[in-house]
Amino acid sequence: MNSKYNQWIPKVMRNLTFFVLFAGILCSTSAQVPAPQQAKPILLKGATIHTQTGHTIENGMLLMENGKITEVGNNVQIPDNAIVKELDGRHIYPALIHGRNLMGLTEIGQVQVTSDFSELGNVNPNVRAETAYHSASTHIGVAAAGGIGVTVTTPTGGLISGLSAAMLTDGWTWDQMTLKAPVGLVVNWPNMLNNRNLSEQLNELQKAFDKARRYHHARNASANQPVDIRWEAMRPVFDGELPVFIQANEISQIQAAVSWAEKENIRMVLTGARDAGYIAEQLAEKNIPVMVGGVIGGPARQWEFYGEAYALPAKLHRAGVNFFIAGDMGAASAYRLPHHAAAAVAFGLPKDEAMKTITLYAAQILGLDDKMGSLEPGKDASIIITNGNPIEFSTQVEMMFLQGRQIDLNSKHRQLYDLYQIKLEQVR
């Protein structure tokens, strides 16, 4: 192995890597080996702890017990049976949250049979992402190696696509990996410009909600009301438990969606939000949470600033909008999440804010903040250990813990790399 590569891999990891490499060559299918439950307390010390909620703690300690963070500070009582890891000035951050991705629902884009993210028809409120999550997808390990602890796997297509689910990036089966499901009901607002079927589509969407609401009242009134599998899935929306993630990019689309959500009295998260910068003050005033669906991209219009898309988060931040950043939809590209946050920094978003858009704010808007998003006692011990700011390219994610379990950061890429280094060694 290359010596530079060695420098940043802790010894434990190196051994694990060799083990996995060996295992990988033998069976050549599995990438990551899922980690077992946390057995003993783990104390990390000598680290810079970026809590996201309070001050950053220099030379700090973080204690993880039974999958939870139990203490964070400069002076933490070390339990007798704890495993103590000296981090030598490394950094601890919350594990990153990718708020919208096709992870587990697709393996190879152009191979249709590997795709499960879109169901037939326009109205599918009942389909659930976690039930089709392919836990052995090779892309999960790549995301994990990039510091991503959770992806919100999201169905797409039609007017009501289905229910999204927050999935951990480590585990043997989908039910082990499900952090929270459902996260939200996914709605795609119809295109308001040059759309011949606009009124038809608006009508179809409205009807679905009207029917579901009537069904909800009927169920509340009588247990004898037969179950409708579609409308049953929407009941938490009317109880205010489940937010509706409405995809809208263009100005009139966004305003129509906001006004509709108010009328329907439902909790709304605006997703996509390409043009949100043009009406940022209004979104702030109405306190609409926003998921910026990717920062890296070109301007939508020929006359716009070349950095229009990159500059959106900074605009939203200045206007006081409550937002977070999601990365690419593609499963293989999920690992690029921090690049999106970094691009926002290059175009004006403060670095600390950028970090929060993929941790704390993402957790809050996605309803995961009881477990994720910050380094506070009581939250899941889902953290990453790095040698620098995770959104900078050169930074290495050296370790990741999810709910106190140390995750194997091996991936298919790493395995193939190691394998073909052997080929190269042989011809040398």
Partner: protein, 1003 residues
């Protein structure tokens, strides 16, 4: 000839059908010969057609008196007389003796203009669908192999007079039109025809004088090659070469008396060859000003007499359009008013489109001021009324009226070779003219009549005898006033009482052939009454029926000419003219002039990534003189007069190079019509009007290799460009770069259903088959050239095999799109068998699996940082690909394959760092390595003395995720500056707002 034409027309609809039904191959050739023999013979008095019934010998003599006659643009005779006899002008001028037998027509207050000539139409031609249907019935032999080549199609034989279409053209003032079919890439011949029914032998003024071409294939014709503009250009060029070869071959055979040799018979090529030899005009439509230049390139290559039908964008590059030397036919057709009512909708309209909407009516004027003369055309105008309207708008925007008239009369007449008959009103010429009620450039003026070859055609009734107030008497409509007026040339009227108060609106008003009719709405005293009357000076003699069926007669007498002398018109909004800067390109972020090149330029106090032997220099300076780097080092002295840039705290790198990009390519990136399309050239279709060129500069990219797509085992010829924003395609193109050819393997090439290859196995075979063909071609070429000149055999230049041969000879770089290791090994082994080296693999997804084989062969690897799993062959993509390839000693580069990605290549290289690649090596992936792959490392790729002054000033470490370009320089010219960009953004916003207000304020 005309007899032939007429005869065939009766028998069958088109020439092609005719041939199929009636003629053997030999007869066809006789016919072809006849067409040539008779080409150019035009009208004469005597007739060959047989008279049916009694002969009409009424003298057809007319004398028009008292008119203002414009005999030709700029020559006006007031109160003139025009005498025509039997369709020809006998006299024009003042003091002319009126023949006793003449019908005398008083035209006081009217104006007579020479009839207009439409330079480009498809009048009387079968449409593409009909042509396709008849073409399908034909046998394939004896035809050109490509169904888009239809140069054999004769407009004179196919002409089928269509009075409806002719009437539309007449209503705009046209008396003659040049017509050709609009199907195919070679569309066949054009003829000039009269715009009125005449005896058959007089319908066509001039037969088969031109040939039509196109940059676009017709989808109605059999599908296949070409599917792209670059494919169409290749087909045009190959066919012109074939035509030259065809005629040389036939000449050589007849010279040698060797009539027994099997020779190719291909009338399509024969027609093209003859047209080339006769310098007959070739016509082609353009989509923007760059197509004019593309057409001119073809014209220059084959010395064609080329006429280009303009797109209205020529003003954007009027100087180059002028220098191109092509003849222009300008459709006087302007873009529709943009939809700006909803602000969110207007956001989606580009400044380019807004500018063009505003500037298009100025196009003719701007071309005149450049000294370009042109014909004007109604081509593309949907509503006939818009023709005169647009002409007047063009005049109001500075087109001199005389030039406008010339473009419709003398210029097309001369160009089409009919100026002995058309274009002006002079003795002996055809009696084709326009009668108007005023200056044709006045908004109020109507064309009243158009005379074609001495025959009257009424266009617009300007009779206003109805206008005024009429007092009724008699019957059921006693003692009321009919107040009648015109609004926008449409009748409107009211029923009023004697106090002139409105009682009812008149409905269903009609005035035809002197009889006026109308009805009265239900909710009045006269409810449901229907009335009509014959109108003469000051009196109506009427008849009516009430709703209950009572019939009555009535009368009316004119009281006054009021309501008003002037017709009421919709209130016109007048907008003041805008003063828009001239921008290159004429769009957002366009520049007013090419950036200055300071004689000496010193960049100071920067961290300079030389990417050469000096490595990364802290706190260093760089001196650029006349666009070339002169020195890089610490504490360079400042030459006097130097432009100095303090780059303290900033980083400077060479301009970034993307060796694989598909941006700024006009008319389709892929030619999918065939598996081997090596004849297509990206350099033919570079589109310089693409805002992404500017955005690429904003990302620090200065050079890119533009590629044909990957749908073909052997695709097109690539073109290296530098982002010289504001330049034309040829300014962007790095013409002295070593040429390249795109190959492609794997999934993409086997995706076209029914096209060989269908597998990776077949891909290998078709590529090797092409190599064998190229080597055979080399032998034939040598044999034809090796002898003394007079013995030289006509040699058919093969544009498809030439570039393949160049690859085999090592004169052209083979760039091979490949994902899997097996396919890469296949082509390397094939290349070794044929004695050349693969220059680079493109994408090289599994390159890490055969790093040692790549190194052995000497092929470079062009890779992505992290594209993976979007298709089966990308499933084994790994983020460490570049790392392993570099470690193995393979020349490795990054690429984008995606225009947006190409605007942030420094970030792509930054992402590589995690795999353990050093910073300098990572930067080399964007600079020195692609320069070496493109064989341009003597000019670009590093900041070393003697190289081009292409560099980027970054606001931080160039591989950081937070860093962006501050300035981008090419050859010592600053093409991008973040601070200037702020100003440009504001200018874009201001100009958009200005033009949008203009849209709102315009009619």
């Amino acid at each position: 000839m005309h007899i032939f034409g007429r005869f065939f027309k009766h028998v069958s609809f088109t020439f092609t059908n005719t041939m199929n039904n009636l003629l053997s191959r030999t007869q066809l050739h006789i016919l072809v010969f006849c067409i040539f023999l008779f080409t150019g013979i035009t009208y004469s008095q005597s007739q060959s057609h047989r008279q049916l019934g009694l002969r009409d010998n009424t003298p057809e003599v007319y004398a028009f008196t008292g008119a203002r006659v414009v005999t030709k643009p700029g020559v006006i005779i007031d109160n003139a007389t025009l005498v025509i006899r039997n369709g020809f002008i006998e006299a024009v001028g003042q003091n002319i003796q009126i023949p006793a037998e003449a019908w005398q027509i008083d035209l006081s207050g009217k104006t007579i203009y020479p009839g207009f000539i439409e330079s480009y139409s498809n009048l009387g031609m079968p449409d593409a669908k009909t042509i396709a249907e008849s073409a399908e019935k034909l046998p394939k032999d004896g035809r050109h192999w490509n169904p888009q080549v239809r140069s054999h199609f004769s407009s004179s034989l196919a002409f089928n007079y269509d009075d409806k279409k002719a009437a539309t053209l007449r209503s705009m003032g046209f008396v003659a039109a040049h017509t050709m079919a609009d199907a195919g890439i070679f569309r066949g011949s054009g003829s000039v025809v009269k715009l009125a029914e005449d005896v058959p032998s007089r319908m066509i003024i001039s037969t088969d004088i031109s040939q039509g071409l196109s940059f676009q294939r017709s989808n109605e014709l059999e599908r296949g090659y070409p599917t792209s503009v670059m494919g169409a250009i290749a087909l045009l060029r190959q066919t012109f070469y074939d035509a030259q070869w065809y005629s040389q071959k036939h000449e050589a055979l007849s010279r040698s008396g060797d009539l027994l040799t099997k020779k190719e018979i291909n009338p399509s090529l024969g027609f093209i060859a003859r047209a080339m030899q006769n310098s007959a005009p070739f016509l082609i439509e353009s989509e923007d000003e760059q197509y004019v230049l593309r057409a001119a390139n073809i014209a220059n290559e084959f010395s064609l007499n080329l006429w280009v039908i303009g797109s209205g964008h020529e003003y954007r590059r009027s100087e180059q359009v002028k220098n191109s030397g092509v003849s222009l036919i300008l459709p006087i057709n302007f873009p529709d008013k943009p939809e700006v009512q909803k602000p969110e909708q207007s956001l989606n309209i580009s400044l380019e489109d807004l500018r063009h909407w505003y500037l298009a009516p100025e196009n003719p004027a701007l071309l005149v001021s450049e000294g370009i003369s042109f014909s004007l055309s109604s081509h593309g105008i949907d509503k006939p009324d818009n023709f005169l309207k647009n002409l007047r708008v063009a005049a109001s925007r500075g087109l001199p009226k005389e030039k406008a008239l010339e473009g419709l009369t003398v210029i097309p007449a001369t160009k089409l070779g009919i100026d002995h008959l058309y274009g002006s009103l002079e003795k002996g010429k055809s009696a084709g003219f326009i009668i108007t009620n005023g200056d044709i450039f006045d908004d109020e003026t109507k064309i009243e009549e158009v005379w074609v070859a001495g025959k009257q055609h009424k266009i617009e009734d300007t009779d206003r005898t109805l206008k005024g107030k009429w007092l009724t008497s008699g019957g059921s409509i006693e003692n009321v006033i009919l107040a009648i007026n015109y609004r926008n040339n449409r009748l409107q009227g009211e029923l009023q009482n004697r106090q002139e108060e409105t009682l009812a609106k008149l409905e269903n008003m009609k005035f035809e052939n002197g009889r006026f009719s109308f009805s009265i709405p239900r909710d009045t005293v006269w409810s449901g009454m229907r009335l009509s009357a014959t109108v003469s000076d000051g009196e109506m003699l009427g008849f009516g029926e009430t709703a209950s069926g009572n019939l009555f007669s009535w009368k009316a007498e004119k009281q006054t000419e009021e309501p008003s002398d002037k017709e009421e018109k919709e209130p016109g909004k007048t907008a003041k003219l805008l003063d828009l800067p001239v921008l290159f390109p004429s769009m957002e972020y366009g520049i007013e002039r090419k950036p200055e090149q300071p004689r000496t330029l010193l960049v100071q106090n920067a961290t300079i990534w030389t990417q050469g032997a000096d490595g990364i220099l802290e706190n260093a300076d760089m001196l650029v003189r006349n666009g070339k780097i002169e020195a890089v080092g610490r504490n360079l002295t400042i030459p006097s007069g130097a432009v100095v840039i303090d780059a303290a705290g900033r980083h400077v790198t060479p301009g970034l190079i993307d060796p694989h990009l598909h941006t700024s390519i006009a008319g389709n990136v892929n030619e999918t019509g065939d598996a081997i399309t090596s004849e297509t050239r990206i350099s033919d279709v570079i589109d310089a009007n693409n805002v992404w060129l500017y955005r690429l500069l904003a990302g620090g990219l200065t050079t890119a290799n533009l590629f044909h797509g990957s749908a073909n085992p052997i695709g097109g010829q690539s073109a290296v460009i530098k982002m010289r924003w504001g330049g034309l395609p040829d300014d962007l193109w790095v013409q002295d770069a070593m040429p390249g050819l795109k190959f492609a393997l794997g999934e993409n090439v086997k995706r076209s259903p029914g096209r060989y290859p269908n597998s990776r196995m077949g891909t290998a075979q078709i590529i090797e088959d092409s190599f064998l063909a190229a080597l055979q071609y080399e032998k034939e070429k040598a044999a034809s050239q090796g002898r003394r000149r007079r013995d030289a055999k006509p040699f058919r230049k093969d544009l498809q095999l030439e570039p393949i041969l160049e690859v085999l000879q090592g004169k052209r770089l083979a760039h091979v799109h490949a994902y899997r290791q097996d396919e890469m090994l296949m082509i390397m082994r094939l290349a070794e068998k044929y004695g050349f080296t693969v220059a680079s693999f493109e994408h090289t997804v599994e390159g890490y699996k055969i790093a040692d084989e790549l190194r052995e062969h000497g092929a470079a690897a062009i890779v992505w940082t992290d594209w993976s799993s979007f298709k089966m062959e990308a499933y084994d993509a790994i983020h460490q690909n570049a790392k392993l390839l570099l470690d193995a000693g393979v020349l490795t580069s990054l690429h984008s394959d995606n225009t947006q990605l190409a605007t942030r290549m420094n970030w792509e290289a930054g992402k590589i760092l995690r795999s353990g690649v050093s910073e300098e090596d990572a930067m080399n992936l964007l600079t020195m390595n692609p320069a070496r792959i493109l064989r341009l490392d003597h000019r670009i790729g590093s900041l070393e003395p003697g190289k081009d002054g292409d560099f980027v000033i970054w606001n931080g470490h160039p591989l950081s995720a937070f860093t962006t370009a501050d300035q981008t320089w090419i050859e010592g010219r600053k093409y991008f500056d973040k601070e200037d960009d702020q100003k440009l953004q504001q200018q874009v916003i201001n100009e958009r707002a200005l033009i949008i207000q203009q849209v709102i304020n315009s009619k």
